[in-house]
Symmetry: C2
Subunit: 549 residues, 2 copies
């Protein structure tokens, strides 16, 4: 690892000769789209620093105005455009240029089409000039989009080379965002299989901008790296096991996983179509809490259920928490895998601050059989025993990554017939019911918990999804946000000798070496019971304010 | 048929010696619960008239006061109890006594526990006397309950002898109704497998009170027969393929199938637990349109989603249609099976009346590939190829009824592995999406259509579910209500020689002999797009008023 070159670190998934021939074409097509004027010096790319977040500011490829624009969050961008202080063209140009730089340092993109974005922006600017008003609440906002969400005319995929396509239609999410005034300019990278909490694909391995020896998380890891690099102020990810929350946590940004089927998902690329044992959910990844709300209010306000008979017309209700005491359960761990020291430090800080506040009531949250829930959801992910994944890889000669092998292998995963599928889903439903009863017994509004057993992990090691996937099984909406802490090797050390709580815990303990994680953001997660999306939004604002006061 | 004795007609499912021994016990337990004071004369039961609806009034077992109470609809019962004009004990006693009579003529019950109901009612009356107010919107209302919905301490089943139980817990629906003040006194009969549009079980074959040579429909056929006999003013059924709408239509009462998972379903007995390819939906079966609304407003007002994480907190919104013109699509047939003459007559009457009204705009509704949709839903019902049904029957020695054999047999039904389950569900989702696009292209608020290809069918012949099951696949909420017409052999004859539209149509044509259906109620169905439950309720009121003006 220490001697691995940057080029080696960032490179994509390999395969047999036939695969490599196709992969080369896809990679060259992407590289050709990055203009020469936005290329970083080869010397820099030979051996960049581990923390690459400041390179866009120092490389000299962006003007001061462009740098200033890319510091804005989405709400500010929308406000400035609506106020006539900024044009849509200026916004997408600044973020687009910065995205090109970000990509060279983190492999965060799978398509780049700034020219298209500028054309859209020109039309919006013209509309604004002629009509004197915005076309919708996201007028002129550049939004980056995860690879699996098709935008007409751009590259998308379901996580394998064999599924790479130039899309011929917008998915519902894009149709809606477009109607609200959004501008598109990049598609972002994601992992083989879409089912890793890391992001290595044909297009490269996405690196964490804060420390390129660590993953940016996954599966929406291209998004998180891009947003952390400020190559986007807001992006759209999807989350079926942690794929919004994990990468946001790892990159120190904000992310929200809505209750399933409230935000539009129709038309998203997936290699197990009809697999309805679990759903993923599309949501925002961004740099401020208010941007999550901006996104959700705009998208849900467009009533996705009118397009999609499988979406639920459940209104977003954000309660006013100033009139009552918020009850916050604190879950220090899930009883299966113990968090690493930096996460423990952040949780203790949070608990102390919340206990000292008169605005909230703190409850020690008792978990309910998370190990069982995690086993159920792992089994549901691949009811065919992973046969579809193996077939796709074999047919195209794409090598199977270790994390893909891991996610489709026993003991969690096995083949099912129809009766076994039903039995499995019955176990799921029973767990959900039991957990709901348990939730009410705890008398909490929300639970504050780790989003992951630690900070961003080293590449190819992210094998415990329990802190996010349990909430997917339950479909409890959740948000992650930066605690304000980063991992500090001088204080984040194990205080005592450890007896592992489980095999997964033993593995997790083995991964921790303080020096490796230096500077990695430590993030926290807030969840609430299914469909309490508005409560999660409101609680996050209160909790973050207290934590950072 | 002509010479079949009444005893023969009403008798239950048979089986081998071991089955018969158990069946006898269950039947005797039920019979023993009907008090001697409520038994009809054996001579009457030897050869009752085909239309038995008037026997409760003429048999002399009910007082004039009891007869008057049983004429009330649920709304009136609630109002009178809340107004102090009627006690809960009087209400449940009257309906309970009439239910006992109804059962002897139609085999509509699987459990009878009037004494328990009276005890509940006494407590409610005491509460009312002491507190001077009702406990909830359904205070004192006797509600009959379909067999598959467990009430603690009463008999329930999932449609086979092997699944008969004395329940030890209330299901969610019962918990909620109980909290709203409802009183329980009977569980109603349902068919083997729960998947017939008729209702013959171990406990007997449910007969249509208007004509006992016809079925009361199914699978909530015990409910429809009981409500039509006025042994209940309102009952709860479930509908996964037509099981509320078909029996209500056949018995000339009102029924509503809500969008799935809005009304509580948790805890209902089912022999394919975890089979989540389709859901059934629980709803009211009653004698007035306003009672459907009473029920839905009360149940949804109790927020079932707080108990059940699999229920959707989608509020019931009943629009005010006085301010706009309702757009009613008329679907004369589904392109697959043509309705019998009485149904055609009712549809033509409805169309003419609606066209003449200034309140609505009539549109000729174009169907969209109902044959494909029907094939998909038939395949989804038994993804295991019917293996579970065969196993249950074999293990208990229960004979397989012809309609059970039919519903689990090829070509529609076959075994699936996990990948095939996904493919099937993907076909389902694609159809739902296409249909949604089609629906919007039609620019209608609701569609008026047949609920069945004719009136109630003769026993063992109900083999086309397309007019209801298509809406289950789409999850479009629907209601049925009596057109005011009954089949009239003197006018309901085929006007021309027919060329069948399909094999199913050929079979359906073969079933029609005008004389057989004489006096059978002709009902109509109104549906709207998923989650438009409130619109269906509002539209039904407008349409029925116009049709009956």
């Amino acid at each position: 690892m220490a001697t691995e070159s940057f080029k080696e670190k960032i490179k994509g998934v390999g395969g047999n000769a036939s695969y490599e021939a196709k992969a080369r074409i896809f990679r060259e097509q992407l590289e050709a789209k990055i203009p020469a004027s936005l290329r970083l010096p080869p010397a820099l790319l030979e051996d960049p620093p581990l923390n690459v977040t400041h390179i866009p500011e120092t490389c000299g490829l962006l003007t001061p105005q462009e740098l200033a624009i890319t510091e804005l969050d989405a709400t500010a961008v929308c406000q400035k455009i609506a106020g006539g202080e900024l044009t849509a063209v200026e916004a997408v140009t600044a973020f687009g240029k910065r995205a090109a730089i970000a990509h060279q340092l983190t492999a965060c993109l799978m398509d780049f089409f700034l020219d298209e974005g500028i054309k859209q922006a020109q039309q919006l600017d013209e509309y604004f000039r002629n009509e004197g008003k915005v076309i919708g609440p996201l007028h002129g906002l550049p939004i980056s989009i995860k690879g699996m969400l098709p935008i007409n005319g751009t590259v998308g995929s379901a996580g394998f080379l064999a599924t790479i396509e130039t899309s011929t239609e917008d998915c519902d999410m894009i149709r809606i965002l477009r109607s609200l005034g959004a501008v598109f300019y990049v598609k972002t990278n994601q992992p083989q299989s879409l089912m890793h909490l890391e992001s290595k694909s044909t297009y490269g391995r996405v690196l964490n901008p804060h420390n390129t020896n660590l993953t940016a998380g996954g599966s929406s890891g291209g998004e998180s790296a891009l947003v952390a690099m400020k190559g986007s102020c807001i992006g759209v990810g999807t989350d079926g096991g942690g794929s919004i929350r994990c990468p946001c946590a790892h990159c120190g940004i904000y992310g929200f996983r809505p209750s399933c089927r409230t935000t539009p998902l129709h038309g998203v690329l997936w290699y197990q179509p009809g697999q309805d044992g679990f759903y993923s959910s599309a949501g925002p990844m961004c740099r401020s809490a208010r941007d999550m709300r901006l996104f959700l209010e705009a998208v849900l306000g467009a009533n996705p259920a009118l397009l999609d008979p499988d979406a639920f017309p459940i209104p977003l209700q954000v309660p006013d928490l100033s009139k009552r005491k918020l009850r916050v359960g604190i879950m220090m761990h899930d009883g299966v895998v113990m968090p690493h020291p930096p996460m423990i430090r952040a949780l203790k800080m949070a608990k102390a601050k919340l206990e000292a506040s008169s605005e909230v009531e703190v409850v020690d949250y008792t978990t309910y059989d998370h190990d069982r829930g995690y086993s159920i959801v792992r089994e549901i992910y691949y009811e065919d025993g992973g046969a579809t994944v193996r077939r796709i890889l074999t047919e195209s000669g794409e090598e199977m990554l270790p994390l893909t092998e891991w996610v489709i292998s026993p003991p969690h995963v096995r083949d099912h017939d129809a009766t076994q599928v039903w039995k499995l889903r019955d176990k799921r439903d029973a767990f959900r019911r039991e957990y709901s009863d348990h939730w009410w017994s705890q008398n909490v509004d929300v639970v504050l918990c780790p989003p992951f057993p630690g900070t961003a992990s080293r590449h190819d090691t992210a094998k415990y999804w329990g802190y996010t996937a349990i909430w997917n099984l339950l479909d409890y909406p959740g948000t992650v946000f930066p605690s304000g802490f980063v991992a500090d090797p001088t204080i984040d050390v194990y205080q005592e000798s450890l007896s592992p709580a489980s095999a997964a815990d033993e593995y997790n303990i083995s991964l921790y070496e303080p020096a490796i994680f230096k500077g990695a953001p430590v993030s926290l997660q807030i969840v609430s019971r299914i469909f309490n999306d508005g409560l999660v939004l409101a609680a996050q604002e209160v909790i973050e304010r207290i934590l950072k006061s």
